[in-house]
Amino acid sequence: MSLDFAFMKSSFFLAAGAVPLTLFITAMTLLASLPLAFIIAVARSGQKGKVLNLIFSLYVSAVRGTPIIVQILIIYTMLPDLLKFLIEKLGLPFDVYAINNVFYAILIFSFSSIAFLSEVFRAGLRAVGRSQYEAALAAGLSGFRAYTRIIAPQAVSAVLPVLCTSVNNLIKMTSLCFAIAVNEITGVVRVAASRNLHFVEGFLIIAAIYVLICLTVEWGFKILENKVRAHKVSA
């Protein structure tokens, strides 16, 4: 088997050109799901909210129990009609079919990210423990400040390694966007490769690009972890 290096080179640049879109989808998904996931985790760790807990555990099970590609297909086929219905009901001057598929991609990935990130944060919150919260209240902090200043930073630093894995998983997940014709890394190279049937070269390049991105993310998280190492309770 011989590889077409010229094609590999051209698809490398093609793929590199699509990296920003992949990162954009990842970043927007994280922006939407990190805060929501954290709020859900906090709500679920309180004593109250048995009903809330049930609802969210069903949600988490549903997300965990279905392949991501199935979620993509379900949401992508259902959501436009649903949106159209809503828009017509509300009488908004808005064309559903003008909505970019990137928007749907972000929505779909947020839907699943919120579920697994909230589980990650729940573990983090449990690692911090109630005494830190009480000490913050006793020092005069409001419940909100106690969470933002004391609890959240510790919960997040406790789960940084897991978060790193989650972010990498999300990046790799975005490759499934080709199913809804979004031109991110996998999509563009796949189309180019199908034109001259150099699939092997194309897919190797895609793999290499993802490895590079994920290594960079890991490196970033290593730096973060080193920064917060001192906070960690050693005893």
Binding site: S131, Q132, E134, A135, A136, L137, A138, A139, G140, L141, S142, R145, R149, I150, P153, Q154, S157, V228, A230, H231, K232, V233, S234, A235
Partner: protein, 250 residues
């Protein structure tokens, strides 16, 4: 200055505190003694609203507060005017020693960061921890952590400081450094309520000793009376058992 009356608290069916009355005047150092499970910690926690009492009122400065129905603003007021030193220090693990002290000043008492830092440094100096300002709790010994805990408690200049067995998690050789700081604070007129098993501290520093058993205050008195001539049989038993333990450890 601080007066509790009729404080009661149950956890489920268990009555933990029953009709507890306590009067604290400025400059008082009140030592609370009593066997394990007698409700000492619960009482302190009820004062600071870490636990909500089922009955009772608190008078603090010019305010009268119904403990079971305290409003948010009243809880905030009490937490401004009191502070808590925990048995397990409970320093904020993600904050340096100095930040541990300033956190409550800046975010609880709305003191500007610059002023808070000055106050924080002074407080750390007072407990002999000025040279450890930038250390995280995980980098400090138990005794050092508790000294920072005390700095955090005095920095806001509260009316009363609540100590819950501040030395009982410490190795014996580290107890002295914490007790001597508490003694110094007492001599300066700091008002304190101290749950402790350190009999010599209670005897030499406290202005009043209280014995709790089964959720009630069984006996209270000035230390020289309390320790020399306890009236209640349970108090006698308790003091004997503690003294025996002390001799035993020597």
């Amino acid at each position: 200055m601080l007066e509790l009356s009729g404080v009661g608290k149950s956890f489920g069916k268990n009555e933990i505190l029953r009709d507890v009355n306590l009067k604290v005047a400025a400059g008082d150092v009140i030592a609370i003694l009593g066997p394990s499970g007698s409700g000492k910690t619960t009482l302190l926690r009820c004062i600071n609203f870490l636990e909500i009492a089922d009955q009772g009122t608190m008078v603090l400065e010019d305010r009268t507060i119904q403990l079971p129905r305290a409003k948010k603003s009243e809880v905030a007021f009490v937490r401004q005017k009191t502070s808590f030193v925990f048995q397990n220090y409970n320093l904020f693990n993600n904050k340096t020693a100095l930040e541990n002290v300033t956190e409550g000043l800046i975010y609880g008492r709305k003191i500007p960061a610059k002023t808070a830092k000055e106050i924080g440094r002074k407080a750390l100096e007072k407990v002999g921890m000025a040279d450890r300002s930038d250390f995280y709790p995980s980098q400090l010994s138990g005794g050092q952590q508790q000294r920072v805990g005390i700095a955090r408690a005095i920095a806001g200049n509260p009316d009363v400081i609540l100590f819950d067995e501040p030395t009982s998690a410490l190795d014996p050789e580290l107890i002295g450094e914490v007790l001597s700081i508490m003694k110094k604070l007492a001599q300066e007129g700091t008002t304190m309520i101290v749950v402790t098993h350190e009999m010599s501290f209670a005897q030499s520093v406290a202005t009043k000793a209280i014995f709790m058993d089964g959720g009630v205050i069984l006996e209270e008195g000035e230390p020289h009376e309390f320790f020399v001539r306890p009236r209640h049989e349970r108090t006698k038993q308790f003091l004997r058992s503690i003294l025996y333990e002390m001799e035993y450890t020597i």
